[in-house]
Assembly symmetry: C2
Amino acid sequence: MRQTNHFEITANNIRAAAQRIAGQVIRTPLIPCDSISKSLGCELFFKAENLQHEGSFKIRGATNAVNSLVERMGKKELAQRGVITHSSGNHAAALARAATLKGIDAKIVMPQNSSRRKFNAVRQYGIEPILCEPSSEARQLKADEIISQTGSKMIHAYDHSDIIAGQGTVGLEILEQITNADVILTPVGGGGLLAGILLAVKNADPQIQIFGCEPTLADDAHRSLHAGTLQKPTRYDSVADGLRTCLGDLTFPIIQHFVDEILLVDEPEILAATRTIATHGRLVAEPSGAVTLAAACRYRQKFQEQRVVAVISGGNLDMGECTLGKSR
Amino acid sequence: MRQTNHFEITANNIRAAAQRIAGQVIRTPLIPCDSISKSLGCELFFKAENLQHEGSFKIRGATNAVNSLVERMGKKELAQRGVITHSSGNHAAALARAATLKGIDAKIVMPQNSSRRKFNAVRQYGIEPILCEPSSEARQLKADEIISQTGSKMIHAYDHSDIIAGQGTVGLEILEQITNADVILTPVGGGGLLAGILLAVKNADPQIQIFGCEPTLADDAHRSLHAGTLQKPTRYDSVADGLRTCLGDLTFPIIQHFVDEILLVDEPEILAATRTIATHGRLVAEPSGAVTLAAACRYRQKFQEQRVVAVISGGNLDMGECTLGKSR
């Protein structure tokens, strides 16, 4: 096992991130699930990041990135410039929250076809999303335009060292919450969460196997590892909408160096896992967060008798609107 | 505030229960929910007993009752007699699990119209439910018949001191998990959970207000408190099926002595709260477990600026069957 790495992000950065975000993020529970464990022949635990603020792990990286910028630049300077990102997903609300907590202005560029839930999650912080066309190029172009006018600091959703270090705190918590874990399963989209967990866990205990889990319809990480070079997605229609993105220049080499394997799962398996997490885990997962249970089911022969942690990365299912009723 | 009580169950019994069941039940997380808090104008936390083994708090009382019987009678004697209960709900699987863990035979009498999910939850422990007619009388008659043949020890779902003490451990955990709670909201059906939490919390901190939450369609606790005598339910059709039962001879006087108020909620409010817990809390609650959020919404004026803990007592929603797919 390779225990050293030459990446700019170290286990120390992740420990520093954990201190930097303490009290501003939830230390999410690690929840055993007996009935699924019995069915699969392993000992299964959910790391429930769906119970995180704003319903996703993204708050960890965003909070670390904003707090870290405040430390480096000073609050006054950063408040003048503000922070900016582009995202159609959970990173949008995460950055909105992290910046608001520090009194920093955040500009959030969102594709105009983002879901109403995602727009509302940003608006609740009093921030009006800046709309753009849905393509990656249009998103970046719009962000660059604003940066050139305002000097705002870009906080990319995953290809950013403070983001990766923040997401890695999930791995530190798992190590504290369970002894003798054999396997950690984590979703892989842009790779920030997987890279962070790899850096946190493989440095502490290289015996723990770590698998990235990915939809077959969005298998760019799988193909990238086999090709040895960064491969682009070929389609964007997996139900796991958070995993349609490409690995980044920072996340790819970390994953390449440390990951045990990328496990692919099919769409019906992802939907079945989403449902099983609700029925047997009593947790609401979004499909992107349920790929880990889908992989635990599909590859169950690999995990017999093992202690398996499945990270549920988020729980922002679009279930339509709901209200809190009237006060009497 | 009245701090003393003359009941046979004391805070010491609840502390002993906590030690007796440690390691066999989950210390369920207390989860803050910012978005609902903001909407309601309070600071809301869920005590997530839906994440308990078998998806309900019932495992606490059942485990305490079985372990306590083993201590008092000796394992050999109890194994010869076995334990028995009647239940259409979560207590059935809870007793099946608690007895199985100790190697004790459990006889579970269930109304023949119980849901498939509830039957399956018992069968997973290799125990075949004993069917009876749905009425309370038929359930008790069938149980009495078996007791007279076998000498099995009856463990009633709520009107049993070890059950109440076990459920009270929810209250102890809340006290450990949050400082300066102002309010605890808990569902009330038979009253075991409410009575246990009252005994645990009011003895430690009588300033904390504790409200039982009940469907208007199953308002027997509310009527009993106002009448000063135990009132029977008049109908059995609330969607909160776990709360259709009557208070017991043990639970009623404890509730009468300590509770601040019983709050009533209507059926649409219960369904809306079930949905809100899924959307904003990312937790699956059964309607009986969602009455507490329903009350937090309906009576929000009461709770402005307060720190409110809503106990989600269970998460066994009937969502149809689901499978774990095929292994590859």
